[in-house]
């Protein structure tokens, strides 16, 4: 056995990874290795900033930034596109180009999130909790400056952590097996309790609903298609991109349409470029000022990046929860607290360093993006794993410096993007909402090339809008959705591998204890906080201060209808689950039983609450209800029409007709203006998706029929 291990590695004497960590080999070897690493740092840095590499890094970073800004296109896409250019590149420049394109995606996504309330990529969803609220307060520049700086700092932290871990990288990666991942994912789940401003009961309902949604699709243990209800295409499960776009972006569009004002609500008038510039620097200073928060959130991001299959969206939410929990000013979270932007943006970029670990240490990719990176490295003629760690550590440092410098470039250029893009937010909603809607459905389709995803985004849009109105945490739903599958799969594997007592093993047990302490702390602090914050109100309606127009609330009666509807869906799922094998059905049952119970409890709570007191609490201000149900109705109708048009006539004719009709007929804009805007938007999307990124959009049934497809 010993012979199988190279001179630079330790003998695998024991079964427990942690013990292996302690058995560090001879000090001589360590010294030699350290020298190699120091040389690697110098060589890696010099290569990265050399003229042969730097230009590629700049191009890659800018490409990633643009991909990030466009909703629906994510880091995976940026890398897949970049790979095609690698065949003619030198290793150094190839890595800089490829990884640069991946590193800046969440920066670009953050810009879209703060400006438009649309997550540019899924990992920016957590930024939506406070970013757009800051925009509404008139602090747009501060939010953007802080977000981009936190990204840079987070990425730097992750990269430096990766560098520091190089000597024990393999051991670190092997540390996380199914039992440990179950506990960590569970720990992340406990953060839903502190995520939003919403009350605990509703957050739990949302989180459980999210977990249930994660169960949709093929269970590969038994090959059972769960909860697809006859939709064959749902067998792959709901994809993250359309769900995130729907919950947050489409919901925001519905609200925007119903409010009928500019997107940037709080701003009396748009600041001059100078003022925005000044704000950006204020934001930069704010991020540096909160360095301790940045550090902690980056650590969360890096740690969660190590776990395969998790992705960066949950890391950002956990970081948000942590930022809120540790803040002195918890009440202002969700109303435009800069810490609520700094936390998630630092975490979602710090993930990169962690995610690279298993790819570099063993050549085992932890995510689809890392799988592309791996094949890219192969194309460049580089081997990952021990060979790279021992012989090409300079390559690892090129990656590390690429992440840092790429983010620096992204930050600088991102700041130039802010001013022109921020003008867009002042456009009135009657034109902006249909235009952004066209952007959103394009992104939803492009992520998988699936018409179903457009429908998913639209349905989740309605769902997200209602959740927002009734004060259910969309963040909690999303984190449940992302973690549900990870928890179920790893729990199953942990049970299969180690039996039910896996929890009693030292490592998982220690982590579980941490989770319990954490949960207890969360519960206690929330409880104390609540007693202090609202001693008088027995109920959960947030204080009506801040920006009432952005805090719409449904009436208790409509909330009961909403709950009843969800209840019917869950009951249908409950009955459906009886048809599955026990292995596939047990997790859904474990989720649905408390879910049904909590929903009944919530309905009872609404009914028993004094109706008079409630209606008095609800801020029914003019701007919220302007247009009222009629506006919502027209929006829903136009969304259905949008889907039908795309399905029938094809993507671009569909969004063109939809845009024109929404502006001209529904919003009663001028004919020429409606035509010009809708044509320009369609043309711009055509240029971006079909020409620039070469993504084929849907042709439409009519066109497919004429071409001779056997769809019919």
């Amino acid at each position: 056995m010993q012979l199988q291990y190279g001179a630079n590695s330790e003998p695998p004497a024991s079964q427990q990874p942690i013990e292996r960590c302690q058995e560090i080999p001879d000090s001589v070897l360590v010294g030699k290795r350290l020298m190699g690493i120091l040389e690697g740092i110098a060589s890696g840095f010099l290569q990265t900033v050399s003229l042969a590499v730097l230009p590629y890094l700049v191009i890659g970073s800018l490409f990633g930034l643009v991909v990030g800004v466009i909703p629906g296109l994510s880091g995976h896409f940026a890398m897949a596109m970049a790979v095609t250019f690698l065949y003619s590149m030198e290793p150094g420049s190839g890595i800089a180009f490829l990884l640069g394109a991946h590193a800046t995606v969440s920066q670009g996504g953050g810009i879209t999130a703060i400006l438009f309330g649309i997550p540019g990529s899924p990992q920016n969803a957590a930024t939506l909790l406070d970013g757009p609220a800051m925009r509404d307060k008139g602090d747009l520049g501060i939010a953007l400056g802080a977000a981009m700086t936190s990204c840079l700092l987070g990425a730097t932290f992750g990269a430096v952590a990766l560098a520091l871990f190089i000597p024990v990288l393999q051991e670190t990666v092997l540390f996380f097996g199914p039992p440990e991942i179950v506990i960590l994912a569970f720990l992340s789940l406990t953060f839903v309790a502190v995520l939003g401003r919403e009350d605990m009961m509703r957050s739990l309902i949302a989180a459980l609903a999210g977990l249930l949604l994660a169960m949709v699709g093929l269970d590969n243990v038994t090959n059972t298609e769960r909860f697809t209800f006859g939709f064959e295409r749902l067998a792959d499960g709901l994809s993250l991109v359309p769900v995130v776009l729907g919950l947050f972006a489409v919901a925001e569009m519905i609200e925007l349409w119903s409010i009928a004002g500019p997107l940037a609500r709080g701003q009396a008038k748009i600041e001059s470029s100078r003022q925005v510039q000044k704000q950006i620097f204020e934001g930069v200073r704010a991020a540096f000022g909160k360095w301790w928060l940045v550090l902690r959130c980056s650590a969360i991001g890096t740690l969660m990046g190590l776990i395969p299959g998790l992705g960066s969206a949950p890391a950002a939410f956990v970081a948000y929860g942590h930022a809120k929990q540790s803040s002195k000013n918890k009440e202002s979270f969700g109303k435009g607290n800069v810490e609520g932007v700094i936390g998630p943006e630092a975490a979602n970029d710090a993930v990169e360093g962690g995610a690279l670990a298993s790819t570099i240490a063993f050549g085992i990719p932890g995510s689809s993006s890392m799988a592309i990176l791996l094949s890219g490295l192969f194309i460049l003629g580089l081997e990952t794993g021990p060979q790279m760690l021992n012989q090409h550590v300079d390559i690892v440092f090129i990656m590390i410096f690429t992440i840092i410098l790429g983010n620096l470039i992204g930050t600088v250029f991102g700041m130039f993007l802010v001013n022109p893009l921020s003008r867009v937010t002042t456009i009135r909603s009657s034109m902006l909402a249909p235009a952004l809607m066209a952007v959103i459905v394009s992104g939803a389709y492009a992520s998988n090339g699936s018409l179903l995803d457009i429908a998913v985004a639209l349905v989740f849009g309605v769902f997200g809008y209602l959740m927002k109105r009734f004060n259910y945490s969309r963040a909690a739903l999303l984190i449940g959705f992302v973690l549900g599958f990870v928890v179920e799969k790893n729990l199953y594997l942990a049970l299969m591998l180690d039996g039910p007592l896996f929890i009693a093993e030292p490592l998982p047990f220690g982590l579980a204890m941490i989770a319990v302490v954490f949960l207890a702390y969360n519960v206690v602090s929330i409880y104390r906080n609540r007693n202090r914050a609202m001693p008088a109100t027995a109920n959960d309606v947030p204080a009506a201060s801040g920006r009432p127009s952005a805090e719409p609330h449904g009436s208790p009666a409509t909330e009961i209808w909403f709950l009843a509807f969800i209840c019917v869906l869950v009951l249908a799922a409950f009955l459906e689950a009886f048809r599955y094998e026990m292995v596939s059905a047990r997790t859904p049952f474990v989720i649905m039983t408390p879910l049904l119970f909590l929903m009944l409890l919530q309905a009872w709570r609404i009914r028993s609450a004094n109706p008079k007191a409630r209606t008095g609490d609800i801020p029914v201000t003019g701007s919220t209800t302007e247009g009222g149900p009629g506006k919502i109705g027209s929006m829903l109708f136009s969304m259905a029409a949008l889907f039908a048009l795309i399905a029938l006539l094809g993507h671009f004719p569909g969004i063109l007709i939809y845009g024109f009709l929404s502006m001209y007929l529904l919003a009663r804009e001028r004919l020429v203006l409606s035509a010009i805007v809708s044509i320009s938007v369609t043309a711009a999307l055509f240029v971006v998706f079909e020409l620039a990124f070469n993504i084929e959009m849907y042709d439409g049934l009519v066109f497919r029929y004429l071409l001779g497809y056997r769809d019919f």
């Binding site: 596109m81 590969n220 085992i364 591998l497």
Partner: protein, 353 residues
């Protein structure tokens, strides 16, 4: 914006015009549109090449490597369209129902398509035997590997079933799963099969941690682990093994001289035939013969273009060409396996073995 707008209008108008013209002519001529010479037909056209997976995987990489060369020998532009879903079934079905004008082709997961059809998987909206076969890009060589942590060094240690080995696999009925089940059945191994892993990287990590002992994977993936001294190949399925597999027993060596050898060989042959299907390039059924011949010819030239061979090698992608007619033979031999063997595979895929 002016140019792009113009382009947009022109492209859409032209698309509609072209489609309506096509529809009208085909109605009038009753499908006799395909009268013109195939070479000039493809000149300046664009071929839609469907990849039934996300960008970045093996199928995608092969396609992007080959596309410029297909373009070179057909005179058409090759547009790669990723259409992920249902483990490659969605994109494969899209190819199957595309118009048979020879302008839509794609790469498909051959053995998975065959297995699904054998197991009678519902939702398989294609008939494997009816595709138009252009050729094959590569096959997959399957090997059994053990992790360094398992303490196992060769197949003999557990060949007689005296030692329980823990084997990992991804989905029920997936490649690694079926391989493991069939092997254990034929060799009489004492096997604890744990499936439900996400994908092969997941399984490799479990091997490294020592959570599982062994795994059936592709040779390319296994060799990487071997060179890092993390994995050991203990068994392969080749009759003429390449250099890296010398001194490692093949599945045929293991059963040599055992009772029921002939019956076992039959199962192993059928099993081997499945992996020979590999990654074929196909078009929808009914492409006019002159066009499919033209495509096959162009594909053959592209696959043997020295520059392509060179890039594929540099990218670490094994190629193993088979012609369209050879592919038809291969498919015929797999789908034509006898009832008993077919039943064995069907229960293996369904997880009932």
């Amino acid at each position: 914006m002016g140019i792009s707008l113009e382009g947009l209008v022109r492209k859409n108008v032209l698309r509609w015009l072209a489609a309506s013209m096509l529809a009208i002519t085909s109605l009038v001529n009753g499908g006799g549109v395909f009268a013109q010479d195939a070479g000039s037909f493809y000149e300046g056209k664009s071929i839609k090449w469907i990849v039934p997976y996300k960008p970045g995987g093996g199928y995608d990489e092969y396609s992007r490597l080959l596309a410029p060369f297909v373009s070179k020998y057909t005179g058409s532009r090759v547009d790669i369209v990723n259409m992920p879903g249902s483990g490659g079934m969605r994109g494969s079905a899209e190819i199957f129902k595309a118009p048979a004008d020879g302008l839509t082709v794609g790469i498909v997961p051959g053995s998975a398509l065959v297995m699904n059809e054998i197991a009678g998987q519902k939702g398989a909206a294609y008939k494997i035997a009816e595709f138009t076969y252009i050729g094959r890009i590569s096959t997959e060589q399957r090997v059994m590997v053990v992790g360094a942590e398992s303490g196992i060094e060769n197949f003999e240690e557990f060949a007689d079933g005296s030692k329980t080995i823990v084997v990992g696999a991804a989905g029920l009925g997936g490649n690694a799963y079926v391989d493991a089940v069939i092997a254990a059945h034929v060799f009489g191994l004492d096997q604890k099969l744990i499936h439900g892993f996400n994908n092969s990287p997941d399984i490799r990590l479990a091997l490294l941690r020592g959570d599982i002992d062994a795994w059936w994977g592709s040779l390319a993936e296994a060799l990487k682990g071997v060179s890092d001294k993390e994995l050991t190949i203990v068994l392969h399925a080749e009759k003429n093994p390449q250099k890296e597999l010398e001194n490692i027993p093949s599945v045929y060596d293991v059963i040599a001289g055992s009772e029921d050898e002939a019956a076992k060989v039959k199962i192993l042959d059928a099993w081997k035939a499945l992996s020979v299907v590999g990654r074929p390039v196909v078009g929808p059924p009914g492409i006019p013969e002159d066009r499919s011949d033209f495509l096959r010819d162009a594909f053959r030239k592209a696959m043997s273009d020295p520059e392509f061979v060179e890039t594929a090698k540099a990218a670490g992608r094994q190629i193993s060409y088979a012609s369209g007619s050879e592919m038809i033979e291969i498919i015929r031999s797999v789908t034509g396996m006898d009832q008993q063997t077919q039943e064995l595979f069907a229960v293996a895929i369904r997880g009932e073995l």
